[in-house]
Symmetry: C3
Subunit: 670 residues, 3 copies
């Protein structure tokens, strides 16, 4: 990327009156340099079967061209026109709740031949149309693509084929899934029962995994079409999204981002997050880290909120804080969903940058300052590179399995992930995210592995090898519990890692009024309650950092650490308070030599770093709080980029509520 | 109406043993002068297809005739016989949950030709039978008729026809509904998708509106049949009901009472309400006011509880308080659902006046005193007329749209209505209810408009004109937000009313820890929390009565008032405490000159007034509390009607728990 | 039974690797003397339609034989193979939610001919196979059989036949069910509507009763097949279960255990219960009493938890406490579900005695002590007989009806049962359970009748006769409310029992802020709140033990007692606190002369007694608490069986947390 992109989704199609020239003028004034168009407007582009009309697309392209604004063109396929559903009702996905009805987006069967036929035709027509416009810088495939839980008979058939390819014989499948249980044993591929009724989570998890491969295949298919038309300099991206809890929370259950991203030239995502007093930067950071991994490079934030949800209306300064938080994580763009607030339908209250009156307003005025800053500082902030020494390993398979088996207190996989990630974040430890597909565990000093419920023996062996080679492993309850088919390892647990962690357990329960106690952690008056899950751990070679403070469970360990070959493994057998977890992580980070100057500050002051194209370190000091904060500047002397003033190490930075400073160090890295 | 009606629903059909003579005797002893029969007993009247048997109906008519009791005959059509559902399964309505099953009442498709054919035939047979009985004073069409969310393919077809008539072209519809969004654009009337899957609330709200027209048409059809048989002196009514929250709460979502009532000669309704310590008279008052509007006249309370719900078992005195509360609101009848407590089926615990043992009991003994009072005072209390100076404008369309878009804290339209209505009620301000169809805004000094989310420009202009002409407008957040198609007005908000209110806003959010502060209201230590919704209002010409007490939102107004031409407009941009609201209303009422002697008392003492046929004012002083209350009598000298004693202005009225006094003033009004 | 059985469910089919010899060795070491096999493994036994393979069954039988372990063989029919569902989809039960999907167990239509054909064939093949093994001591029919709410068209047809047989004419049915209400009157048997849509609880309750007869018939059918093959000395049992609230709670709604047990030779059940700090012995006691009734004899505990649910992981000592609690209630076996923890599928977290690593662990080591104790003490503890003087009458019909009409606070029938049972339990009053089918009310001094909502007149007359003959009746609100068709008795309530209880009522309500007050009970400062329900009782001849402490309800009685002929009847018109209830029960028990030495102790110390085959009384003193307890030994001198030491009356027993003592008295009873 040669510059920071600052943009909005723009829909000429949705305007209640002619606005195009006015809008372009207002964008230009705000230094908005890119718009995203066309996505989800199939019914406008192909109003009748086989009749194409790209007027809105071309109007937008021409107006943007005139205004010097770049364009990302999205394929329109994630929402189908009424005529298509009317002609081919089968394109609406059958889910466990039956077949969907027309109305919502993202409710089609992405494997449907009728859908594919029509989708391909409209994509080709669109590409033919837009390829002549020089200001098109890239393409977005579909949007937030998922499998929409499609599981009709045709999908079931494909799944059986997939099973046959995986297992060869039904006997192998029966054994892997424990199908003897409750008479589920299958006698032939023809009689594999509909997976939607199953009570066998091995089978169910396999289906979820299979469904994720449908997304890989679908995106690769779209990419191959778009590539036929795209110029060399035009990128192909996707707008990946994350587990949704009213905002972007963590690992996406329905897509394996790592494999799905293979067909892209640049990774993209949307990140939505709470604001007002709940603005922390955590979602921006973790989702950014997940996206950064995909192409091992900078990424695009293709959507984020300007106003968004009604309870996200930003305080003054927050839009700026959002924008620079994305950049600090390695994003090369900040693009709002969307330019204006829509006047009808489902997202009337998902507000854009402009409100419904489409006049300059508080968010727009703040966007103007961001746009100006981006334009001015682009060269210094684009393509920021990270060099993190801590990484966290996450897995879609672990997510599926843990969510199927359900921990108490509605604790899902991502809750465990966030418990760990958020502690690191608040300690100002920048952390990369890894997937099982990644081979480079050895690039890191510390590897954090949350609840890796299901893993093939080879993956567990790689983790063990990381420790043996001198790494610091932090892992938790439920790691190493079952193999890749969700068959519980019939051996000492945590399986494979038992020796490396120096522990064994075979019983576990749910803590009720169980506190933790342990001198090693140096927490005053105990280490708070155990939550959600507790394994009754027997230390073998490990030392005990904390045990359960309970009349009958007191003999078991809650947190252990173990020296193993060149490294160490720390095991959390229960979910602790953040304070207790931070005490554990502090031990680990110090031992690993990862304890640095950043750890002198802590949330709500967040420090982020990156190296820019000039090889200089850029330091971001963010204040995620409603109060003024005075914060010592710890890094090397440099220049504060927004204000342009010199800053010396040891100076006090005055951070306004939701304010920040960006210092480019004077010297060059490496 | 020439006398007060005191009555019960009576079902000879439901008796576990022969009771008719005994029941008539007990009714006579209680001065019960009307029974309601026949409704919902289709299977008894037509036990087999085409075989009619009106034995129970005629027995009841004859026994009542002998006992000097009048009869209201209901058409039996709101519950269909098993044989009809068996022969024509299609009469069971298809709703978004699929087709209903036989069993419950009110689950048919009221548009079904098979249903209509059989309903018409049984109505005609019934009318032929009952027309010869002189004691039939009127007819009730069906019962609590609604559309039961019928939305099967046949209804969808009709809806498309309705849309075509409304819009002429799909292009006009696409524009009005913003169907370009998410590819919902329709290319032809044939391809209009099933509305039950839609995510476009413009489309959904239109369907709700269309469904309400089905009720209008259905009742008009029944009225036209009944009218063929009815005598001149016999009335035709309906038993309208209200939004149900375990009791009658507010505006009925599924029926437009105003248009549905056109085919009636007198309005009727049922009003159920909490009792025991939760008895307040509020539901009696607001539902009465809604019904009073329909024919601009007195109305019938066709159903209310004697014992009713198990947690409504009345305290001593409460049945009397209910009864006279209805009269004080302009009702000409009080009729219980129902005479006895039913021994089988769904409403076993919806108890009647008699308990299951059908012996004289506490409620019956109290009913005897009510019956005697009604008989004695009928001439003075029948046809009471109101002359209110405050009115509230409510709208089914606003209700539908606000419920579709959902405010936080599960706040529905009627919650906003009741927030305002209940404050006025507790302040002893009697208030009429208006519908958008009413043209007489000018008859009032104060117009209260809760959350009029959707309104055509013309309606908003009429409200503006009311202010310009010297009226006092009190309106709230969300008024004037969207046009009649739920398209948000793309202009300064509140649309059309912005100038008249002297304010503008384009942002809004949900209050979290936001208090109100404002000296003008004179509330001690702030004005309590903002709730549910808060618009970030910028005063233009308005003065600020209260603002938000919040670090970042403090610059915006929460409550404003504005002089506009001859009148004033007060705007509540958030939901306040009742205390704060009452302070606002006090300002408005005083300025409007509506502040009277009634406002010296307040809930739990409620004062109601009406003018009787003799032109005399009748004053009701109710005590809705479990304590004895001494209350000054503020009105002109008169006679207390129950006790027959003279009362002078300034006298102290001693009100027992759940007690009341009724004073007919000596002089004549006007 | 000639010895105590200590056993586990064992599945060679489920093992992740060859374990049979190892498992038998470990069982033998633990004195496990019986395994239960074959149940639910149909797909392994008949892998393809008509192809049978009993390898796993025979392997287990042979290995057990070699190890000297007995075997109970279960028919495999409660989970069907995939090929059967694929060939005959109609075997999956249609419930009110539609037809089930393949996957779960217990989802078939037990009336389906296809299911019956295949079930019979596999049972016969299994019986042919296992009949040659001498160590098979008995058979279990199916497992936890219920009707699974089967209600498809074929079941509806049968139901109509059942109705025709019951009523003869539709007129009789219409009258019994009050079908005139809401037009439900039926004109012919062909038009009886689908019961799943009904709002008539008489009809719905009849269907529930009919569905329970399907279970009777189904089990009798299986018994008749098994009996063709069984030897004289082999028993036939069923594994009955109880209302499930995450654990065994009370009367099973879906099976009439009394009638279903007719085809068995010994009663069996599973009892699951909370452990850890929630271990009370209550479920073991009440479910044991229910099972003891069925054959008026000792019973088998066929399943209970070893580890079970994740929050049931036992504290040290709890497994022993469970085991001896079952024996103290008259069980002749304790068998765990199941031997090992399963490595795949739905019950991965329903852990067995061994954990997933299948190594000796804490529960196994405790089981070894239990097995040793059982082996050593079998002669003294097998076949313990009870002689209780208090009985409680429970009824499936009352359960169905009360659950249909729904008391407030989600109070179901079993909550009322448990309110009474648990109070007796905590007072150390051992109590038998009776069903309406039992004729021996006269065997008891005290009869407790919770909320007998529906009862034919004859049953109420029998209760009245019990009182007249000198019995002490304790009954509650809702008893005697409706006849066997759920028609409310149209007479003074409680119907039939009004005279005997000396009271009358016709009104009732839900208590809100209503306390009880009454000197007679001698409770300090009132008797706590009234809960759930309150009848407004007028004493006629009864004396008032407590009345309502409430401004308006104070005139009504809450608890009354009445001398009637030779006996007394105590009536609880509301749900009281346990303390208040215990005060009432104390009065009754003392008057009945049932107040004994056991009542000097109370929960958490629980005393249980039984007479062994030697005619000696055995006394169990259990400590259901986490604290050490010193408890006086009240009974006659004897020998503590676990430790083998002599104990004298008056000695202090030292009970460890979750500990117990078992004393065999020296002298012989009777």
């Amino acid at each position: 990327m040669d510059k920071l992109l600052y943009g909005v989704a723009y829909y000429d199609e949705y305007m209640p009156y002619e606005r195009l020239e006015k809008d372009m003028e207002m964008m230009k004034a705000a230094n908005i340099n890119v718009i995203r168009i066309a996505e989800s407007t199939w019914a406008t582009e192909e109003p009748e079967n086989g009749v194409f009309d790209f007027t809105h697309v071309e109007r937008a392209l021409q107006a943007a061209q005139k205004a010097g604004i770049s364009v990302i063109v999205g394929t329109p396929t994630y929402a189908v026109p009424p005529w298509l559903a009317a002609e081919h009702p089968e394109i609406l996905a059958v889910t466990p709740r039956g077949q969907g009805k027309y109305g919502a987006r993202q409710n089609m069967d992405i494997t449907s031949p009728a859908y594919r036929f029509h989708a391909e035709r409209v994509i080709r027509k669109l590409m033919e149309c837009v390829q002549r416009y020089p200001n098109v810088i890239g393409f977005q495939l579909d949007n937030e693509t998922k499998h929409y839980n499609t599981c009709g008979p045709n999908v079931q058939k494909r799944f059986v084929t997939y099973l046959r390819e995986k297992f060869g014989t039904v006997e192998a499948m029966n054994a892997a899934y424990g199908f003897n249980y409750w008479s589920n044993r299958v006698d032939s591929w023809e009689n594999v029962p509909d997976v939607t009724g199953t009570i066998n989570w091995s089978f169910a998890a396999e289906f979820a995994k299979f469904q994720r491969t449908l997304v890989d295949e679908y995106l690769a298919w779209q990419a191959s079409i778009v590539r036929e038309y795209a110029r060399e300099d035009q990128f192909i991206t996707q707008n990946f999204d994350y587990e949704w809890r009213g905002y972007s929370f963590g690992v996406q259950p329905d897509v394996n981002h790592k494999t799905a991203a293979k067909c892209l030239t640049i990774a993209g995502c949307d990140i939505y997050h709470p604001t007002q007093d709940k603005l922390t930067g955590k979602e921006i950071s973790i989702c950014g880290a997940l996206c950064r991994n995909l192409k091992q490079d900078n990424y695009l934030v293709i959507e984020t909120e300007a106003q968004g949800h009604v309870n996200w209306t930003p305080y003054d300064g927050q839009l700026r804080l959002h924008a620079f938080s994305h950049i600090a994580n390695g994003a090369n763009s900040v693009m709002y969903w969307h330019w204006h607030s829509i006047h009808n339908s489902f997202e009337t209250y998902w507000k854009g940058l402009l409100s419904h009156d489409m006049q300059p307003n508080a968010p727009y005025r703040e966007a103007c300052t961001i746009g100006a800053d981006f334009a001015r500082l682009s060269e210094k902030l684009v393509n920021l590179k990270k060099k993190n020494r801590v990484a966290m390993l996450v897995s879609n398979e672990a997510l599926t399995s843990l969510n199927l088996f359900r921990l108490p207190e509605k604790t899902g996989y991502n809750d465990v992930v966030r418990w760990l990630y958020d502690a690191l974040y608040e300690m100002n430890v920048e952390c990369d995210m890894l997937f099982p597909e990644d081979e480079n565990f050895g690039d890191y000093d510390v590897l954090v592995v949350p609840a890796l419920y299901t893993a093939p023996r080879a993956l567990l062996e790689r983790i063990k090898a990381f420790v043996a080679a001198g790494g610091e492993l932090v892992t938790t309850f439920k790691t190493g519990f079952s193999d890749e088919n969700l068959k519980v390892y019939p051996e000492t647990q945590p399986a494979v890692l038992s020796e490396c962690c120096g522990i064994a357990y075979d019983e576990f329960t749910v803590p009720e009024d169980v506190a933790l106690t342990g001198d090693s952690l140096g927490l005053p008056q105990g280490a708070g309650p155990a939550r959600v899950w507790m394994e009754l751990v027997r230390p073998v070679t490990a030392s005990v950092l904390a045990q359960y403070d309970h009349k009958f469970w007191g003999k078991y360990a809650a947190i252990t650490e173990n020296a193993f070959s060149e490294g160490h493994a720390t095991y959390l057998a229960t979910m602790t308070t953040p304070e207790c977890l931070k005490a554990v992580l502090t031990r680990v980070l110090k031992r690993a030599g990862v304890w640095g100057i950043e750890q002198q500050a802590q949330f709500p002051v967040i420090i982020k770093s990156g190296m820019n194209d000039a090889g200089k370190n850029v330091r971001f000091y963010f204040n995620y709080s409603r109060e003024d904060v005075k914060q010592t500047y710890y890094h090397a002397d440099g220049t504060e980029l927004i204000g342009g003033t010199a800053v010396k190490s040891g100076d006090t930075l005055e951070l306004e509520p939701w304010g920040f400073k960006i210092i480019e160090e004077n010297g060059k890295e490496g």
